[in-house]
Symmetry: D2
Subunit: 309 residues, 4 copies
């Protein structure tokens, strides 16, 4: 699709690009470790359907944790708020995304929110479908609609690689299975979850996906209502309180827009009523967020007064 | 001051008042335990200086944790962001407000955010002043300006009673003193902090205080810049991510406006660009928030689409 | 085998039997939930090969956690101390036997000791054998030697039932697999472990097993060296510091002999240089120990000054 | 007093002395930081009143945590087991000696055992006396009796220095005061506790003190019953399960005798029915135990088969 190169955006990217030298590639997934650490690109999709971009914006990357907010939207549409929040909490946490401690110390043993791994696994477990394949297909189709692209698929090599080494996620799942938060086969759940994390798109598609939330669930491209307004609002709220791992509080202070990051280096950011932003920069900070991606959003927020606060 | 009784607001109060039967008065402070559990009142102060209210809105109550966001504003004005956030973090937490665990398990041993007790104590410790009395006087004067009322003072009996039993807060302080987060005399800090928590106002004054944040730091009554815009924004962000104890996430989902509660049953809520809200309802839910106050804000947010998300 | 009924022992049993009314059967394993809650029996096997008993001492029960000390002995014989203690620690813990928290908060992520579930799973994982069947067969043969009985086997129904519901143990295993403490298939490990826990014997056989430790590894019945002296000593030490779940400290104070309990209600107790004791009483206290079994050992220790301290 | 230099003991000391190079002096107390890191000496006081020693055994050092087991003995004599164990638990813990986490996460909020700081503070708080001075005088007199020396006193400089910086211990105290485990003035308690930790003796006196436990409470020198047999036994049990900080489990495995260490580098060790051992070696391992002192006890235990297991 067409997305015009923008000089001003490129200038800001040039200003923050040196941050990549302080970051690290995620090394536990070979496909991620092979990315170019200096890569940084961004696309902005406005609600009036114009699009600006800078960098190699058609480079595809896997969604990883960005997918958590999309599966949450689908599951809320599948079951409604009440059911979903019986299985997963709404509270941010100061713990790392992959921590298991709170599952033991909290009573009842419910994941604190849908953006940490435990919560996201519980969410994926709730996707409607007669079997794991239907669950995944429904999610993939939903994401195609959000990205307004039929060609979206998942990276089978990344999915398989993550499936083969998802020991910690299996540990979280079995702990939740003990406490009846997770139902059915853990192996099947891990399969759907690792495929979900391996869904690929490029930054323009990510910006379009973000724009749906910016437009409260009505797709600005297709004019279709893809997500009910209430659920779009709810997802934006979670992005603010827990979207950037355990740096969400700092991000809310310094940037102040709903956003969700993934360890691939992608960031989906939402400027309500204005635009969706898709960023890719695989060099990560110590919390697992794209280090230059956050720098870029700080500049954009300061320059254009984007904070919702 | 004048604040017109409003029938519509009274109707909503009537609708949620029965929630008070499910709540409990804070019993560990005698002055709080003596409140009328069924009390519920609210004032709304609009940026155009009109004011509507319902219930016994001139009943005064102590600020308790509501004061945390006011001392934070003062300290940010005293020292700037960088210095302050060397001593206290920006991250929400799933732990209770009085928890000490994270001070030991996190490294470095810094309170997670300024809205939990540990963080609020570290903030109060940073108020400028040659001694504890000057520290407190400066804070009190700042709060008088916010509430636009010279008559504001603190409840000496509540302050003394809290000072005499603040064992857990002393424990938090000494732990932080061990790690050089807190400087000087812990007893002096506890004195300033318990006085701060015991500052009294009624719901109209609280609504006016809230309106300053709604107006980005410019006082709508006096037209004076009381808080720099950036700091007002920062305080609103903390109110969203951590303002309602460990129910902040749920409150963001269900209400979606910056707010800060206290165990006295007060809630300061901010509707950006529109109004400040002051609520008093001393019956608390199990997280320490005014149970009917939250119900009232949920109704107001749903009826008038107040969520910022 | 022959084990003489003893009136004095029966009298003590009668004195403590009423404790069973305060205990509860383990309800998460059907076979355990079907036991007679009032059951209490004991056998004492002296190093001079005499044996006294009271109660229905030929009633068989599964070893459950008692097996942990036997697999530890085997694994120490298989690999030596150094290798084994690279994978599992030596420190008692105040946490429950099935806790996962310390695996995350401790660094490196090593189970604290071989008597908690995480540690016992790591131990079973180290049993030598070309596959899971050889691992289990080697353990079963070792236990036959200890109990001096060829007829010992495992309860296939209990094993299958535990295998089907061992979610928490799977969670512990996957967490340890993430940290390279556990090698190979978790399902195979869980199979060997649940079979190990389901090995059955009656209290006379348990007393004989205990007597091997009392005699420093030389079997008093067969006069064969079944366990090297150093390893027998080491196992007794672990029994004292961590043998009775997170009531080990209290048991050391009140009884003061090496012992290991299981949630089936069995207790293996060792009086060094004197005798082995086997007890069965399925009513458990809140820590998971046979409530009347502990009462019985307290009486025996007080009456005959058995404490090693 | 007379204690014969022993060549054999000196040889073993020479063998392990190089361990001191791997250790570190406690640096948070100036008086401890000024010790000679290579110092290592030991005295053994046999129940037949003979004494052997090696090294500079008349060098005095402060007891620090060694005092915890002596105050425990006194408090058990003051109040009996039942009362004492309502205020402090009996369970070993895998947490460091100064950890506060378990006080919050355990319910009820009772220190796990009397050998961690929280528990020891609760114990000192129970020493009988009309005021802090009488409490301390009673403890000092009791320790004089144990060491069989009237000249024993405390180091006022160390006591003052510890009092001035005991932030973490104050934090523990106030946490326990919140939960009614500690009564009265925290400052007074900290004064008695820091004086207690600063009581000085040399290794011969320490060996004599240990010998009282080896002789089950009957002083081998004076033939007076200083501690009831039951309480002496109880103290030995705690030394085994929790005497060497969170290296107690490993020490039980590798040495296997009741012992209590302090960060001054002292170790009191008890060989039941045989002798008391007093060691001083201020270079500490990372758990806070005398690194060469432990090495020495490992050698002694192996050479003379001292383990009680």
């Amino acid at each position: 699709m067409h997305c015009k190169k923008d000089e001003q955006l490129q200038r800001i990217i040039n200003q923050v690009k040196s941050l990549t030298t302080k970051g690290k590639l995620a090394d536990y997934i070979p496909a991620l470790a092979n990315e170019n650490k200096e890569h940084l690109c961004a696309s902005i999709y406005y609600l009036d359907k114009t699009c600006v971009s800078a960098g190699d914006v058609e480079h595809s990357f896997t969604l990883q944790s960005i997918s958590k907010v999309l599966s949450l939207a689908l599951v809320l549409m599948d079951h409604g708020e009440e059911y979903v929040f019986e299985h997963v909490g709404m509270e941010p946490t100061g713990d790392p995304f992959n921590s298991i401690v709170k599952l033991e110390t909290n009573n009842p043993s419910k994941p604190l929110n849908p953006m940490i791994n435990a919560g996201a696994l519980a969410v994926t477990n709730m996707i409607k479908g007669s079997d794991k394949d239907e669950q995944f297909t429904r999610l993939l189709n939903f994401i195609k609609e959000l990205a307004d692209s039929d060609s979206i698929t998942y990276d089978t090599i990344v999915a398989q690689s993550e499936y083969n080494t998802a020991w910690l996620n299996r540990s979280l799942c079995y702990f939740m299975k003990e406490h009846d938060i997770i139902k059915g086969s853990v192996d099947h759940l891990i399969e759907v979850y690792t495929k979900q994390c391996s869904i690929k798109m490029h930054s323009i598609e990510l910006a379009k996906t973000a724009s749906v939330f910016a437009n409260n669930g009505l797709h600005p491209s297709t004019n279709k209502r893809v997500i009910p307004e209430k659920i779009a609002q709810l997802c934006k709220t979670f992005m603010v309180t827990c979207g950037m791992y355990n740096a969400s509080g700092e991000f809310a202070i310094k940037v102040g827009v709903p956003a969700k990051s993934g360890v691939s280096g992608g960031i989906l950011a939402v400027v309500p009523e204005l635009c969706g932003i898709g960023i890719f920069g695989p060099a990560l900070d110590d919390k697992g967020n794209s280090i230059a991606g956050i720098g870029l959003l700080e500049r954009l927020s300061a320059n254009y007064k984007l904070s919702i606060f």
